[in-house]
């Protein structure tokens, strides 16, 4: 049933598309394992997978990337890598690489066309749709794995060339809750501290972050803190590898985190473990927060968190009286329809103690995507202009209009964020879409709805280097560039701006993404505004555009990045050293210089379990896969490590459902279902099951997840929905028979 809906609007059956375009697995480097001879050059650059942006060196022989060498001089990771970093070079010289523009053909699937025709047609369709339905009927969706230069370019393309309000990006699935909370309380959307502060803290609290799998390099920072005597507190519905040996592991139910945070604060207030002097001098809003927190006795807090009250008291006893502390959070508390409130409740714990803005004291959000930090500052969000400026602020609009050489009135106002944008496609308000670096068919919630929406577009163009599951729905697919085939900067999890080098040129037939966008802009009559000759020219304009903004890159140059191994923003001038640690001297980012406590009561998830769907489903990543898997499901070694999604289920729940380890199980919500194998483990709450989300089709966890979003950040609620789980027969049929990396099952 699901299978038929999925396939309905594709030009060919899924199996045919998978046969032609993959995902296939690359298992050997260019030239084979036993190629001899030294590489021609070894290029220091960065891993493209995840927001840590580890330094790595790629080996090049005969203009092909043939291997890697650790880059021990780069200070963030000092040579350390996770398996994705080690094998990332296997996406180069890949058999699935797109090497020509492709046009949808109803009988043959996709057929090659030349670049000029492809670009002409794209521009023509944009103009046709905008002429017929209005400018905002054409939308742009982009990604947070793009360089700063490309993120900047995409925002400018939407506002200046396409002149549509509707541009948003897949950072909407990632960092927006943390960003909004940080901005509301501290005034700046960035991790407050460099990672070098973590080992200097005497207590570390990690909330909703499976660091071992999603940010593996951060593990060493945590372990080093513990070697130095720090206590580690971990909140997670699953006993993750860092939770296993934590001093205190709190197996909170998904969505119950505010119970723990407020319960801790309640105890801290009672026992005098808050910094009254700091609160009086450097914050606002304490009384309103305290009025709410008073109700959160450990017992009440425990009823929300669904953990013993003693754990919450113990957490307060560890966190409260400490001299130094560090709090980290990630998607586990952010992917909720109250994601912003969860993050604010966490940050309140930091601000109430005044332990911020000095060595060993601080707070960080762990960015998930490659440029999760930088790509949300350069103006590709639906409500934002470069420099993390506000699209509705008249002064901000004037500044950017000046940089772009356009009249302020021509810059569109706030458009739709990612999920409402897909809903607008579904209900026909948006008719055309240009998409780059985003695979919503796998990564957005309520997968059937998303697939249906994409099949209703009048025109859909995708820029990608592989035929993603989303690109299969496109009318035109334009072959773009891998990170190592282009150059530019990203901003890592710490706010450190770093440089990706062009290690090799794109293969013949593919083009750097920024050139494709500039060519399109020219066809839309905006060529003079997109006359860049290099990515560095885009960065030079970005510097000017960001000048005076919160995310100020004005003093950062590519040369400085090379010399200093990265520069932390804000960096307002060439002679400014950059800002590794924010809020020193307790100067916060708001105009009044204070931190602003934000009160918010706990509320339930959009969909809590009930009699029909009695189990909590939560979703996340595995260490060997990245996001929707467009890249990592094509790398043999990474697929071998974890070939197909498994449903983690506690033996107690499994027994009650007659399920044993390895059985096929059907996980079903009101929206859709997956059939996967069960992995029976004691390391998960018995009221919760877990699915990793990297796979497509009948293996896509997002078939089940709910299309509910946070009212402020618009992040989808990936971390909790209601499901039922039952033992299933071994799936058969076309999709089940695909390779696991393509959505099949074994």
């Amino acid at each position: 049933m699901e299978a038929r809906r999925v396939m309905a609007r594709l030009p060919l059956p899924v199996a045919d598309l998978a046969r032609e375009f993959g995902p296939h697995l690359n298992r050997e480097p260019a030239g084979g394992w036993h190629a001899t001879g030294d590489p021609d050059r070894i290029v220091p650059t960065h891993c493209c997978f995840c927001g840590q942006q580890c330094g790595i060196q790629l080996k090049v022989k005969d203009e092909r990337i043939v291997g890697f060498e650790p880059w021990e001089a780069f200070p963030f990771n000092r040579g350390k890598l996770c398996p994705k970093g080690v094998k990332r070079y296997m996406q180069d010289e890949h058999p699935d690489r797109l090497l020509t523009p492709l046009m949808r053909d109803e009988t043959r699937g996709f057929v090659p066309i030349d670049w000029e025709s492809a670009l002409d047609r794209t521009a023509r369709e944009i103009q046709r749709i905008q002429g017929a339905y209005g400018r905002d009927a054409f939308a742009v969706l982009t990604g947070a794995s793009l360089t700063n230069e490309k993120a900047y370019l995409m925002g400018k393309f939407a506002r200046v060339a396409a002149r549509t309000a509707n541009i948003d990006y897949n950072g909407r699935l990632c960092m927006v809750s943390a960003a909004a909370a940080s901005k509301k309380i501290l005034g700046i959307d960035r991790s407050a501290n460099p990672w070098s502060d973590i080992p200097k803290a005497s207590v570390v609290l990690v909330a909703g972050a499976n660091i071992a799998e999603c940010a593996p390099i951060t593990t060493d920072y945590l372990w080093q803190a513990r070697e130095n005597g720090a206590k580690l507190i971990v909140l997670d519905p699953r006993m993750t590898p860092i939770a296993r040996t934590a001093d205190l592991f709190i197996p909170v139910r998904s969505g119950g985190d505010i119970g723990v945070f407020y319960g801790m604060l309640h105890v801290m207030i009672q026992r005098g473990w808050i910094n009254r002097e700091f609160i009086d001098a450097h914050t606002t809003g304490w009384d309103a927060l305290q009025a709410i927190v008073e109700r959160y006795t450990p017992e009440h807090a425990a009823s929300i968190a669904r953990v013993p009250a003693s754990m919450i008291v113990r957490a307060a006893e560890m966190w409260g009286p400490a001299e130094t502390s560090f709090l980290l959070h990630a998607r586990g508390i952010e992917h909720h329809s109250k994601g912003v409130e969860n993050c604010m409740a966490a940050i309140n714990l930091v601000v109430a103690t005044g332990r911020i803005g000095r060595e060993g004291c601080g707070y960080a959000m762990i960015t998930g995507q490659g440029n999760g930090q930088g790509a949300r500052e350069q103006g590709q969000k639906c409500d934002q202009l470069p420099g993390a400026r506000d699209l509705e602020n008249p002064a901000h609009r004037e500044h950017i209009a000046g940089v772009w050489g356009v009249d302020e009135s021509t810059i569109p106002h706030t458009g739709l964020s990612a999920v409402p944008l897909l809903e607008a496609i579904h209900d026909g308000r948006i008719k055309g879409l240009l998409l780059l670096c985003f695979n919503p068919v796998v990564s957005l919630p309520d997968g059937d709805f998303i697939r249906e929406a994409l099949s209703r577009l009048e025109f859909f163009a995708v820029i990608d280097f592989f035929m993603s599951e989303t690109a299969r729905y496109a009318d035109l697919v334009l072959p773009g560039s891998l990170m190592e085939e282009d150059e530019g900067t990203t901003t890592n999890v710490e706010g450190r701006v770093i440089r990706h080098r062009q290690v090799v040129k794109p293969p013949a037939g593919a083009r750097e993404d920024w050139r494709i966008i500039c060519d399109l802009a020219a066809r839309l009559g905006a060529g003079d505004k997109f006359a860049y000759q290099s990515a560095q020219e885009i960065f030079e304009e970005l510097r000017v555009a960001s000048k005076g903004g919160v995310a100020d890159y004005a003093g950062i140059t590519w040369d400085r990045i090379d010399r200093e191994l990265g520069v932390f923003w804000p960096c307002p001038s060439i002679d400014h050293p950059g800002t590794p640690r924010l809020y020193e001297g307790w100067r916060f980012g708001h105009p009044d210089g204070k931190a602003h406590f934000q009160p918010a009561d706990w509320r339930p998830a959009a969909e809590e379990p009930d009699a029909d769907f009695p189990i909590v489903l939560t979703t996340g990543r595995v260490v060997s896969q990245y996001l929707s898997g467009t890249q990592t499901r094509r790398i043999g070694a990474l697929v071998d490590q974890y070939p197909q999604p498994r449903c983690e289920i506690h033996p107690r729940l499994a027994a009650s459902l007659g399920i044993t380890d390895g059985d096929f199980v059907r996980v079903e919500s009101r929206r859709g279902a997956v059939v996967v194998r069960a992995q029976v483990v004691k390391t998960i709450r018995p009221d919760t099951v877990f699915l990793p989300y990297h796979w497509p089709l009948d293996r896509s966890a997002n078939n089940c997840t709910i299309r509910a979003i946070d009212p402020i950040s618009k992040i989808p609620e990936f971390k909790i929905c209601a499901v039922r789980v039952s033992k299933a027969e071994e799936p058969t049929g076309e999709i089940a028979g695909l390779e696991p990396e393509a959505g099949g099952i074994r």
Binding site: E28, W33, H34, G67, F68, P70, E72, N77, G79, K80, L81, C82, P83, G85, V86, K87, A212, E213, P216, I217, T219, D220, W223, Q224, E227, R238, M239, T240, P241, I242, R244, T245, F249, P251, R306, V307, P308, S310, M311, V623, S624, A637, L638, Q641, H650, P651, R652, D661, Q679, V680, V681, K682, T683, I684, R685, P686
Partner: protein, 208 residues
């Protein structure tokens, strides 16, 4: 500073397999990973443990080799079998107390971790210990380990009555001076005598 040495801290391991993937990138056996990463019992715990060759001072694998195919370098690194000598009998596979050597049917010989001799002999660190993101594997000086880690680095083992000294050190609690791997009497494994399961989340939730 003394010479660099190899250290394992099992408690740090997060099971990410960066070591497994990187081992296969080592030039002497590229495309073939030789490190072991043990998943202890996934049903009960996420605990994992990496196992490189411990490079015994008096290697048992070499002692039992009927073909004299396993050689030690002057600096104490025990090499994979010599291809012209190895007869593929797997005596070494059975004898190694750490379970390290693997018989590889292609190319029909025993292969194992050689501490990335191509790298360590030219001043670079082994692949696995360079990339390991948790610090479970480290290639550094004993001074650096003593400065940055709790516990004690030891390299003395007893397997029953057999003492073994290894080039590779492991980190253990300070009170431990050597690892004693004795036989476990079956009587100690009687049902019902097992301690409470520390990694069962359901049990944690019931804890008052």
């Amino acid at each position: 500073m003394s010479e660099l040495a190899f250290f394992i801290d099992y408690s740090r391991c997060i099971g990410c397999q960066a070591c497994v993937q990187a081992c296969g990138e080592c030039d002497t056996h590229r495309g073939r990973s030789l490190i072991h990463l043990e998943t202890i019992e996934r049903r009960d715990s996420v605990q994992t443990a990496p196992q490189v060759c411990m490079h015994c001072e008096d290697p048992i694998c070499a002692q039992v080799c009927p073909a004299d195919a396993i050689k030690q370098t002057p600096d104490g690194v025990v090499q994979s079998s010599l291809k012209p000598r190895c007869i593929g009998c797997s005596n070494c596979v059975l004898a190694c107390p750490f379970g390290v050597p693997k018989y590889e049917s292609d190319p029909d010989q025993m292969m194992k971790c050689d501490m990335c001799y191509d790298r360590t002999s030219t001043g670079r660190r082994p692949m696995c210990a360079t990339v390991c993101p948790s610090g479970a594997l480290a290639f550094t000086s004993i001074e650096d380990i003593m400065r940055t880690r709790q516990g004690r680095a030891i390299n003395e083992w007893r397997f029953g009555d057999q003492p073994v000294r290894t080039k590779v050190h492991v980190l253990v609690p300070t009170e431990i001076t050597h690892v004693d791997v004795g036989l476990i009497p079956l009587s100690s494994l009687r049902r019902g005598s097992a301690p409470a399961d520390p990694y069962d989340v359901a049990a944690l939730l019931e804890d008052r």
